[in-house]
């Protein structure tokens, strides 16, 4: 109880200064760099909608992502006079017809219209929808005329987000709906305006956006049948982001615009899945604030999947480290070649020391001495917990910023195909033929049967599973392990700052 009281007091204190601190954030270390998902509401919604929206998001994301805490907030946006306008019009209507009630207005506005005649619902709905369309257009026009129109409306949110990033070491993802997108774009610009936040620790993803862009090149979903956004695009700003999804018309929401009733109401492959994919992508993309860690090693893992149709295509295949794809590769002479997306690894694989730019150890221009120094420092930090890190072990390769490769070569001896497969760590010298490994079956005589392990199998069996097992022995206050769908990332926590 006492703890709860203290937490409540801290919330109230910071709220008074425009800053709200979550208990989970206050309790977590800098090294956690917790995720903070903020829902930025549109103007035609109420608290119940906001809560339902964030619960729907939380149901898909949970209270942690990549073993890191996730908290949820409301970036509450002003209704821009929408409710006042409705009240004004309704006041006139009630003056004209005394049988009408304010509760009726609320019931139609909130969609609880049991026992109310359809004609009355339609009449009141018409008033509300007309005002809403008008306010949406007006809002967009104001923004069109002056980009900074909403700046004063988001100043508290900007303070909150800047504090979250700079002092609470949060990673902030804003999920914006409708007009919330305009506010989120404005907030993003102001968060970065002072130039003191250099990491992409705020990411925006939009839903039903009336804006021309998503700040920070974020993602968005807007339905072709969203009549509100279509109206804005047709009559106010042609540059409004184009629709990129089609949600079928539904009488549940004739406007096709609401977050819950339309955008989250779909099955697999629907807009809901795209929205969650976008949120996950944003969580993967949002960066930790600069000061939270001393070292970071990021290993991409998504590229070890077997491309469709390649297993018996009679082709030589190599996966894994991108060095296989560049002329300096020791395997170049084997005519191993890149399978499309392998090249992306060049951009993803990284070692990083605090205060320095990321180093891609496969970049021919990279300072390999520096790579080795960083790797040695990382090993010295984690070795007390993992035990000695042997050269050639998955953990050694990982800390060196290298990863496994996989080669499959096919050539012919007479009529018989001969397949040679190998895996190993790129900087560790001799490769390991598969037929020397257990668990795989190779028969080099008729009928020449080969059980080809997929790159994913090799990767998991020989590399990622033992690697993750080893990394999990490291206490969270020493290093944070984050396992995503695309990568394994180790963040070595910043050591306590020496007392001054």
């Amino acid at each position: 109880m006492r703890l709860n009281l203290l937490v409540m007091k801290s919330i109230v204190f910071f709220a008074a200064t425009g800053i709200v601190v979550h208990p989970a954030v206050a309790d977590s270390t800098d090294c956690d760099a917790p995720f903070k998902i903020m829902f930025a509401n549109g103007i035609y919604t109420n608290e119940v909608d906001w809560r339902a929206s964030i619960e729907a998001i939380a149901a898909g994301i949970g209270d942690s992502y990549r073993d890191t805490p996730v908290t949820y907030d409301l970036a509450r946006n002003r209704s821009d006079g929408f409710l006042s306008d409705i009240a004004q019009v309704f006041q006139q209507k009630i003056a004209e017809d005394s049988t009408l009630s304010w509760e009726l207005l609320l019931r139609v506005f909130l969609g609880v219209t049991d026992l109310i005649p359809d004609s009355i619902i339609a009449s009141v709905r018409s008033i509300i929808d007309t005002i809403y369309a008008s306010k949406s257009v007006e809002f967009r026009q104001k923004f069109e005329q002056q980009y900074t129109y909403v700046d004063s409306d988001v100043s508290d949110q900007v303070s909150f987000i800047r504090n979250a990033i700079k002092n609470n070491v949060n990673r902030v993802v804003v999920v914006a709906h409708s007009q919330g997108n305009m506010y989120a774009n404005a907030a993003y610009r102001l968060v970065y305006a002072q130039g003191d936040i250099t990491t992409q620790s705020m990411v925006v993803t939009g839903v039903a956006s009336p804006a021309d862009f998503v700040a920070g090149n974020g993602t968005y979903v807007t339905s072709e049948n969203d009549t509100v956004i279509r109206t804005v695009r047709q009559y106010v700003a042609a540059a409004t982001l184009p629709a990129n999804f089609t949600i079928p018309f539904s009488m549940d929401d004739p406007t096709g615009h609401f977050f819950i009733k339309t955008y989250l109401k779909s099955g697999p492959g629907g807009a809901k899945q795209v929205i969650f994919d976008n949120i996950i992508a944003a969580l993967d993309k949002v960066e930790r604030p600069e000061d939270s860690t001393d070292f970071e090693i990021r290993l991409p893992i998504a590229h070890y999947d077997e491309p469709a149709g390649s297993i018996d295509a009679g082709e030589n295949v190599s996966y894994g480290a991108a060095h296989n794809c560049i002329p300096s590769s020791i395997f170049f002479e084997w005519a191993g070649y890149c399978r499309g997306s392998n090249l992306k690894i060049l951009d993803l694989w990284s070692l990083k020391k605090r205060g320095n730019t990321k180093i891609n150890s496969f970049d021919p221009q990279a300072n390999q001495t520096q790579v080795s120094e960083i790797a040695a420092e990382v090993r010295s930090r984690i070795q007390p917990y993992t035990g000695s890190i042997m050269v050639g072990s998955p953990l050694y390769a990982f800390t060196q910023g290298k990863g496994p490769y996989y080669l499959r070569l096919r050539f012919w001896q007479g009529d018989a195909p001969v397949v040679d497969e190998a895996w190993g760590f790129n900087e560790q010298g001799p490769t390991v033929p598969f037929d020397q490994l257990t668990g795989f079956d190779f028969v080099y005589s008729p009928p020449y049967t080969f059980l080809y392990p997929s790159p994913r199998t090799v990767f998991e069996t020989k590399f990622s599973t033992p690697l993750i097992t080893a990394l999990r022995t490291i206490p969270k206050e020493v290093a944070r392990l984050e396992i995503g769908t695309d990568d394994i990332t180790l963040k070595v926590c910043r050591q306590p700052r020496p007392a001054t």
Binding site: A15, A52, E55, E103, R107, P117, D156, Q157
Partner: protein, 195 residues
């Protein structure tokens, strides 16, 4: 005990007897559609209310002529009449008592109504807005947990519609929206948000 209190207790006792009789004759089947479809808390016979609690329940509100209105207190005061001073306006409470016979649902609806009234009408400073939001948000979490994520919003909006049933009350809510806009508020993910 004042004569007024005696009258209330008498009316409540009569209501109690009437409800017990109704339950005895009609069985224990709930009359509330959201109750029967609740995806939230597990219903148990122990939680099924045979009657209203005579010590706290005000009389049911009189029928209203206004279209679409369940509420009956159209007085100028924001909080209206709350005889038992439990933070929920009497007509709203009467409707809740009448509508929700399953105890967890009734409690959740009362928690929601109480916290929404406080949030809508007593949030005169930034500090109070934040305090009242936290309580109100918790009550929404309780509603979601109790009624289920697919049903709670309708119940919540039904109660909100009754509470904001006059021009003064609606304008108070608009003022709150204006004052609270542009700020950030936490959502609770508490596992047990019900009082």
């Amino acid at each position: 005990m004042t004569s007024r209190k005696k009258a209330i207790v008498t009316i409540a006792a009569v209501a109690l007897i009437a409800i017990i009789a109704t339950v005895l004759f009609e069985g224990r089947e709930s009359t509330q559609e959201t109750s029967s479809t609740s995806a939230g808390a597990q219903r148990t016979s122990a939680n099924e209310l045979p009657s209203m609690d005579a010590s706290t329940s005000p009389p049911s509100p009189p029928a209203q002529g206004n279209v679409g209105a369940k509420s009956s207190d159209f007085s100028a005061a924001l909080h209206g009449k709350d005889v038992n001073a439990n933070g929920v306006r009497d007509d709203v409470e009467g409707n809740i008592q009448k509508t929700y016979r399953y105890l967890p649902e009734r409690n959740a609806a009362m928690q929601f109504a109480r916290s929404f009234e406080k949030y809508a009408f007593d949030s005169s400073t930034d500090r109070l807005i934040t305090e009242n939001w936290i309580t109100f948000d918790r009550s929404m979490a309780c509603m979601s947990k109790t009624f289920g994520k697919d049903s709670w919003t309708k119940t919540a909006n039904d109660i909100q519609s009754q509470i904001l049933n006059t021009e003064e009350r609606f304008h108070s809510y608009i003022e709150l929206q204006r004052a609270a806009g542009g700020k950030v508020y936490p959502f609770t993910m508490e596992k047990n948000p019900c009082d």
